[in-house]
Every structure is written in C-alpha cells, then in structure tokens.
C-alpha cells in the first residue's frame, strides 16, 4: 500500500513514529518521550497506547523486537513506517511552506 494513502497522520501516531525512528523503545519509554515532545499535552495511558501500537503493528509500520538484556518487549520502526513518517513530514513541511507567508505578510495575530 502506498504510504500516501494513510496521510495525514493523527498527531499521536506521528509522534510515536518519530520517537521510534530514533530507536526502539518499550511502552513507558514511548509515553515519556511522547509527553516530552508534545507541549499541547498528548497524554497516553497504557491501554490506549497499546491499542495504537497494535494497529500500527497490523499496518506494518512498526514491529516488535527483542530488547537486549531486558525481558520487556520493545517496538521498533519498520522501513514502511520510516517511509510513512518521511512522507508525512514532507507533507507537513510543504503545508507549512504554503501557509507561513500568510502570517509573515498578513495581519498580526
């Protein structure tokens, strides 16, 4: 499936992919990293987080991996997930590029 079909991504999905793009992480690590990045307060609780992770696994964006020296399961991003993330970031950048001039030249907020 073409990643473009899944765009735009929900902010939460985007943040999770972005965190995993930096390296595999277990559940709480993800929650912490996502909370740190999202100033608007995307709060994740464990049950909802795993629902999102299951969905992403099903879509092939992420996969489970064996953590080294730790019993706990971690998730890592797949090449498909990376492609999707890149596509979404590209889309957002293009969108920003198109929208920004309006503020720069327009009225003050």
């Amino acid at each position: 499936m073409d990643p473009v079909d899944h765009l735009p991504l929900a902010p939460r999905d985007l943040l999770i992919l972005a965190v995993l793009a930096e390296g595999p992480s277990h559940g709480y690590g993800l929650i912490k990293a996502v909370e740190k990045r999202s100033e608007s307060g995307v709060l994740l609780d464990p049950a909802n987080l795993y629902r999102v992770l299951r969905r992403m696994r099903g879509l092939g964006w992420i996969a489970e991996a064996e953590a080294s020296g730790d019993r706990r399961r971690v998730h890592r991003i797949t090449p498909e997930g990376r492609a999707l993330l890149a596509a979404e970031l590209g889309r957002l950048e293009r969108l920003l590029g198109q929208a920004r001039p309006a503020l720069a030249g327009g009225r003050d907020a």
Partner: protein, 889 residues
C-alpha cells in the same frame, strides 16, 4: 493514599490489572502484561504525590480504550492481519455495538430506573466492601511483623522483675522482650514543655517487631541500664523535631535529664498498639535497679515473645508454669495464693479480640443490607421487564432474534453493574479513607487498604441479581407468540401468576430482612439507653480532671508534697468548691481491669476465705467531696487518721456485703494483707471503668498509703453551680506552682463518662442507620409491587367499578394484599431476629436478646410502614376511572 515503598504494588495498579480482564482475550494475551508493566513503570517513575492521580487517570481512560480494543478486534479489516479468515467477526461486532448503543439509549430514556439501580448496587457493594476490608484487615490478616504467627503475649497484665529474670529459662521462646511505657516531659528552648511517651524495652524488642533504623542505630544488649540514650520513632522525628537532620547524635532534655538520641526508626515500623498503647515517641534501654528487680509487687512490664520454630503455645505454657512456680516459691509472702497463671495468647488474637465481635456483627449487618439492596434491584429489573413486554413484542415482530433481546437485557444489567460497581468503589475508597483518619477505636486500623476481591464479589452478586431478574420476565414474554402479545397490549392477561408470586416473595424477603436490622438496632439502642441510665455513683456535672506527669519524683513523700501544693493552688481558683488528686481517676481507664487491681485481700478473722481481688485507690484530701460519692455507712477518715497504720479505708458496698454480710457490719473491721486497713466507712456502689462495667470491689484510702514513688497523677476538682469554663484558670494555677509542667488536657468528667460508652453509641447509630435504610428499601419494594399490580389490573378494576363495586372495597383489597405480604415477612423476620438476637447477647446490656418490647415495636414499625406503602397504590386503585380505562383498551 499512604506513601508507598518502592517495589510495592500500588493498590490502583491492582484495580487496573483486574480491569484488563475486560479486554478482548487476544489483546489481553498478547499485550496484557506489557500494558500492566507500562503502568507500573509509569507509577514507579512518578513522584509520590502524583501516583494516585496518574493511576486514576489511566483507570478513567480504560473503559474507552477497552471499547476501542473490542471495536478493532471485531471490525473486519483494520489491524486484523493475524485473525484467521473464517472468523470475520462481523456479526459479533455489529451485534456488540448495536446492543451497546441500544442499551445506552434505553437506559437514558429511563433515568430514574438507571440512577436508582446504580445507587442501590453502589451502596450495597460499597458498604459490604468497606466493612469486609476492615474486618479482613483487622481480624484475618497476619500482623505486620516477621514470623508474626509465632508472636505470643503473656496475659494477665504487667509483670514483675522476678518473673522477667527467669524468662531466659523458657526454651520455647526464641526471643522475648519486656516493655513499659510512661510519659516524660521534653524541655524545649522555644515553646511550652511537651509531654512525650517513652517506652523502655529490652533490645530484642527490635528483633521481634522487625524494626530497622532509618538513621543512626538501634539499642543493643550493651545499652541495658543506660537511661541516657534513646531511639526516636519516625513520626516523632517528623512531628516533634521537624525532621531535623542532626537529631541523631544530639542531646535532648527529658524530665530535666540529658538524653542522647542515637537513632531513628524507619518509617515502615508499625507501632504494636496492643503492647504499647498509644503511639510512643521514644524507646530507651530498660533500666532495672536491683530493688526494682527484686520487688515482686512492682508489676510494670508487658511481655511479648517469639516462639522458637516448632514450639507450640502448649509447650510455652508448660514452661511458663515452671517459671510461675519458681517465682511463687521465691516470694511466698507475696504469692499467698500460690503460683499465678499466665497463659500465652497469640499476639494476633490478643490484638483483635476486643474488636472481633463488633466487627463480625457489623459485617452481618451490611451483608443483610446488601441482600435487601439486591432484592430491590431484583424488583426494579422485574418491574421494568414486565412493563416492557410490548416493546419486546414489537422488536420480536420486526425481526429481532430471541438471542438479541436476551443479549440486550443482559448488557443492560451488566452496564448497571459496572456503573454501580464504580460508584461502590468510590464510596468504599472514601469510607476507608475516613476510617483511616479515625482509627482510634480499632486495633491496627492504620494499615488498611481496599479489598478489591470483595468489591468484585459484591458487584457480581448485584449484577447477577439484575441479570437474573431482568431476564426472568423477558423469558416468559419471549416464549409467547408476539402477535398475541401485541393484541393484548403488553399487559393484562399476559402476566402470569408465577411472576406475581415471585414479586410477592421478594417483598416478603425484604420485609423479613428489614425487620432483623430494625430489631437489632432497637436492641442496641435500648442497651445504649440502659447503659447511659446507669448511676455511676459520682456526680459528674461540674467536675474537671487534669492528667499530669510529674518529673523527678523519687519518694512517695515528694509526690505528696508537690501534689498537695498543686491541689491547694487549684483549690483557690474562684468557683472551685473541692479538689483532690490520685494516681488515676474514675473513668480514666475504660474497660475491665485496666489498672490498679490488687489480689489477695482477706477479711479479718477469715483466713480460710477465698481471697478477694479489689481495686485499690489512694486519694488526696476531699476525694468524696469532689466526686460526691455518698457513704451508706460509717464516716470519712479524719486528716489525723490519714497517716495511721493500719490505714483507714472506705470500701464499696458490694465488698462490704461479700466480706462481712452488710455495710453496717463492715465498719470498724479490717481487711488483712500487707499491713491491712481499718474500715471506717462504706460507700454507695460506684462505676469506675465504664458505665457498662460491673460494680467492682473497691477500697479508697488516704494518699499516705501510697507505697512507691510515681509520676502519673490526675488532679480532680469540682466547681460550684454557675461557674463558667475555667480551663485557662486551671492551667495558670498549676503553672503558678510548677512553671515547667506540661498540662496537655483539661477534661470534664462528663466527657470521660461519655467516652466510656462511645463504642455502644457508634454501634447503635450504625445499626439505626442501616435499619432505617432497610426500612425505606422495603417500603419502596412493597409500594412498587402494589403500584405495579394496580396498574396491571386497571382494566379489571375499571370493569368492576363500572359494574358498581365500591371504591372502598377495591382500596381495601389492595391494602390487604400489601399487609398480607408484610405480615408474612414480619413473621419470617421475627424468627430470624430471634435467632440473631442470641448471637447478639454478649453485646446487650440488661436487655434480653429476645426482648418482647423490641420485637413487638419493630414489628409494629414495619407494619405501619407497610400500611402507608400499601395505602398510596390503593388510593390510586380507587381513583381508577372506569370509562377511561375501558376506552384505553
């Protein structure tokens, strides 16, 4: 919530883990552990004060998440890569969501029903959970100490030095410790002097109770006999010294003496309340001087031991018997009755024995209440099921399968159960929090946390009831031909006798259970009334009591001299008409032989008589004027006689009758033991340890007979009529003589007497409340049943009215039906109440368990309530308009 130690499971994590059961099985299997672990990580990483909020947030979001998981699981396509192709789940998904939406809609349309059932389930589950949690925690769980099942307590109060010296011979004891707690005054540079509790212990105390130091060290063998050091408890460190870092190693002044604090106990140390009483602030090494060790009359230490592995209580008892025999042989003059008996009791049993009966009673009461609540839930669901016959028929007619309808009804009941459970959880959480803040009454109350197992069971019970009784009417209607059902209008002919009989049976059960609770409440209230009506033999109004702790008393004379100066000082306060002092005062110690008993008294000239155990009381001047205890024979001792040997004494009337046959016969005689006492007067019966305690054998003597120095004391004073509050005047009068003496409380005797029956007041209030709730629920059940029956028979009633039947006759019929059901319930309830009453016997005071007045008045109350509950539907039946009902058909 209480602060958590790291590594311990937060109680809400358990709730969360339980909730995970609601996830689709595959999700639970694959990700359940990871989800729980994530929460645990999250909680472990959060600051202490944020954990509960964080866990609650996760819990509050869980239902939504669970639903979405189910949706993912059941929806075709998305995220379903691993699902076997033949299980498309389309039906399941559609059925589930459709049912869910339908349930939400139908419950929203009946808000009264929904709220009422949720409230009932919540109340029932919440109260049962609260009480069971308390009972479980106090009665069933082990004490929080290492090898707690091997800890034993040496019964019969405090023990003396000669006994303790021989305890090392008891091989059944792996460790033993002797403790003695007293008050000390802490001198503070900034602020008033402070009264602290300090416990003397042998070093094995810390081993037995698993204490660890947070800072510094604990006491060791080598510290024995060194009164100059102490270990502070964690709460004392925080509250008294503000958590000061440099406390360990510093010196504080206790009763004017320098004492070095060498360590602080860790926060986890649980104060063994049964052994030490109120929380202690400091522990110091035991300090036995030779004289103290050798004196068999000096009973000061409570003894706890850990049995050696494999040793039984029986072995311990046998070895203790040998110790008792040795001690008795060494001090034949003291142990005139031969060796004493000090049976061992497990510390656990000892700790909970006083609270056990009351708690079990309470548990029984809430279980009854839960049953009444379940019965009402059953009522409501049945009533709803019956009125929905037409709705169900329509749904059947337009193609809903029988399975779907049943599923929908089940879902409704489950939804109510879950919501009610959540409400119950909130209630129980709140109640337990209140309870923990208010734990003075119960042993071990400070360590309680919610029991989710019981919460689950009670929710299941309520939900099961709802499902059963919600489905029952539906099953009956579903069996019918929908066409037939539609034709008859959903009511009327279709409702069977069996259903009415079932509803009637529920009402009968409800009335019976309510009667039991109301009767119990009545018995407890009458007992309470009887207790408060007791004549304590003292006149409480206007009497103030000031417990004090004098430092630096080394002889009985110092005690008397300083106390007399204090007495004189408060005596001069305007409005004070009498003042006295003693080592203790009436109603200071509540419940049995808490203090001051002496064994082995024999009346004069009767060496063969059974020795009598008496409460012996040494008092300062004006005791009888202050408490207004009247003499029934003889006179008061004069001040000239006070110092004489043998001492003059006033004895209680019961003792006089027991020993000499009558009050008059006792005057002028002597009671023999250790010097003896001459009886100069006999006092009216008095109560000393509580209004519900028996009149005891008592002696009062001048304070001059006090044989040993002691620091504890109570100043008692009587004010004349019309004097206002004099608390601050009392403090000033005391400080005028002893400027550094802490005066922690000034109480009234009325308050102390009141306190002595506070447990009874609590019991009768609780049962009164339960009884009222049960009564209201039973009335609601009866009312609802009759109202429904009237509505159901509108057509019949209309026809009868049209044919000329009198309204009064129809109303009478309805009321009769209600009263018949109530009557049956009352008859059954009386039987149960009679049986329950026998279990109550230990709790009742001068009221027989089968008290006819209580039984009759509860029955009358139930009957009157039933009459009112039946009358309202009857009025409605009488108001039936024949034309309108017939037209409506």
């Amino acid at each position: 919530m209480t602060p958590r130690r790291s590594g311990r499971v937060h109680p809400l994590e358990r709730v969360y883990a339980t909730a995970l059961l609601l996830l689709p099985p595959r999700v639970r299997r694959e990700d359940g552990d990871a989800i729980r672990e994530t929460l645990r990580d999250q909680l472990a990483d959060a600051p202490d004060d944020r954990r509960t909020a964080l866990a609650l947030l996760a819990i509050s979001r869980f239902p939504g998440a669970a639903l979405r998981h189910w949706k993912d699981e059941l929806a075709p396509g998305s995220g379903a890569s691993r699902r076997p192709p033949h299980r498309t789940g389309r039906d399941g998904m559609d059925g589930f969501l459709r049912n869910l939406a339908y349930v939400a809609r139908s419950l929203r349309r009946a808000p009264t029903f929904t709220l009422a059932t949720i409230a009932l389930v919540g109340l029932g589950a919440g109260t049962v959970t609260t009480v069971y949690t308390i009972v479980d925690d106090v009665l069933l769980r082990g004490l929080p100490y290492p090898e707690s099942d091997r800890l034993v307590y040496l019964t019969n109060g405090s023990h003396n030095g000669p006994t303790m010296e021989r305890l090392d011979e008891v091989e059944a004891f792996e460790f033993w410790t002797a403790t003695s707690t007293s008050s000390v005054n802490l001198t503070r540079i900034d602020g008033e002097p402070l009264r602290l509790r300090r416990t003397e212990v042998t070093p094995d105390f810390f081993t037995i109770f698993g204490a660890r130091p947070a800072l510094g060290r604990l006491l060791i063998e080598a510290d024995e006999g060194n009164p100059g050091i102490a270990v502070a408890t964690w709460p004392a460190w925080q509250e008294v010294w503000g958590g000061r870092e440099d406390l360990v190693g510093s010196t504080v002044r206790l009763d004017g003496e320098p004492v070095e604090i060498v360590g602080i106990l860790s926060r986890e140390f649980v104060h063994p309340e049964m052994v030490l009483g109120d929380p202690t602030h400091l522990f110091r090494p035991i300090d036995w001087d030779e004289a103290g060790l050798a004196n068999p009359g000096y009973h000061a230490h409570r003894i706890v031991a850990r049995l050696a592995e494999g040793a039984s209580i029986a072995t311990g008892d046998a070895q203790m018997d040998r110790v008792a025999a040795d001690v008795a042989a060494a001090f034949p003059d003291y142990y005139t009755e031969g060796p004493q008996d000090w049976p061992l009791q497990t510390l656990h049993e000892r700790t909970v024995e006083d609270a056990r009966d009351g708690l079990l009673l309470l548990l029984g009461a809430v279980a009854l209440l839960m049953l009444v609540a379940c019965t009402n839930v059953a009522h409501l669901f049945m009533a709803r099921g019956l009125t929905r016959g037409r709705e169900m028929a329509i749904r059947r007619a337009i193609g809903a399968g029988r399975r779907h309808i049943l599923a929908q009804l089940t879902f409704e009941a489950l939804a109510i159960g879950v919501a009610g459970g959540a409400f119950g959880l909130l209630l129980a959480g709140g109640a337990l929090r209140l309870f923990s803040a208010w734990t003075v009454e119960l042993p071990r109350g400070t360590t309680i946390s919610l029991d989710f197992g019981v919460l689950g069971v009670s929710i299941l019970l309520a939900t099961g009831t709802a499902v059963l009784f919600g489905l029952f009417p539906a099953l009956r209607t579903i069996g019918n031909d929908p066409q037939e059902r539609l034709r008859t209008g959903g009511a009327g002919a279709g409702t069977s006798r069996a259903l009415n009989a079932l509803r009637g049976g529920l009402v009968v059960a409800e009335v019976a259970l309510s009667l039991v609770l109301v009767t119990t409440a009545g018995l407890l209230m009458r007992s309470f009334a009887a207790v408060t009506a007791q004549d304590p033999g003292v006149e409480a109004e206007g009497v103030y009591l000031v417990p004090l702790n004098l430092a630096g008393i080394d002889t009985p004379d110092t005690y008397r001299r300083r106390m007399e100066a204090l007495r004189q000082s408060v005596r001069e306060i305007p409005g004070v008409v009498a003042a006295t002092y003693g080592v203790e005062a009436p109603f200071e110690f509540v419940g049995g032989d808490a203090c001051c008993m002496a064994s082995g008294w024999r009346p004069e000239g009767q060496p063969e008589a059974t020795p009598i155990r008496v409460r012996s009381h040494a008092d300062g001047p004006e005791y009888f004027e202050t408490f207004r205890t009247e003499l029934v024979a003889g006179r008061h001792w004069t001040s000239a006689e006070a110092g004489a040997t043998p001492h003059p004494a006033i004895i209680s009337e019961r003792l006089a009758i027991q020993a000499f046959g009558s009050a008059e016969a006792a005057v002028g005689r002597t009671l023999e033991l250790r010097g003896g006492m001459t009886i100069v007067g006999v006092a009216e019966p008095t109560l000393h340890y509580g209004l519900d305690q028996p009149h005891d054998f008592a002696t009062w003597s001048p304070i001059e007979m006090l044989p040993f120095p002691i620091g504890r004391t109570v100043i008692s004073l009587r004010t004349g009529p019309g004097s206002g509050p004099i608390g601050s005047a009392i403090r000033e009068a005391i400080w005028a003589v002893e400027p550094d003496l802490p005066v922690p409380t000034v109480s009234t005797l009325e308050a102390w007497i009141d306190r002595s029956s506070s447990t009874r007041r609590l019991g009768s209030t609780l049962f009164g409340a339960f009884g009222m709730i049960a009564l209201a629920l039973a009335a609601a059940g009866l009312y609802g049943t009759l109202l429904y029956a009237v509505g159901e028979r509108r057509r019949e009633l209309g026809i009868r009215l049209a044919l000329g039947a009198g309204r009064g006759r129809i109303q009478g019929q309805v009321v009769r039906r209600g009263l018949t059901q109530a009557g049956l319930g009352i008859a059954a309830g009386l039987g149960i109440a009679w049986f329950v009453g026998r279990l109550l016997e230990a709790w009742l005071f001068e009221i027989p368990a089968t008290d006819p007045l209580s039984l009759a008045s509860s029955a009358a109350l139930l009957l009157a309530t039933a009459a009112v509950a039946a009358w309202l539907p009857a009025l409605r039946a009488g108001r039936t308009d024949p034309l309108e009902t017939l037209k409506a058909e």
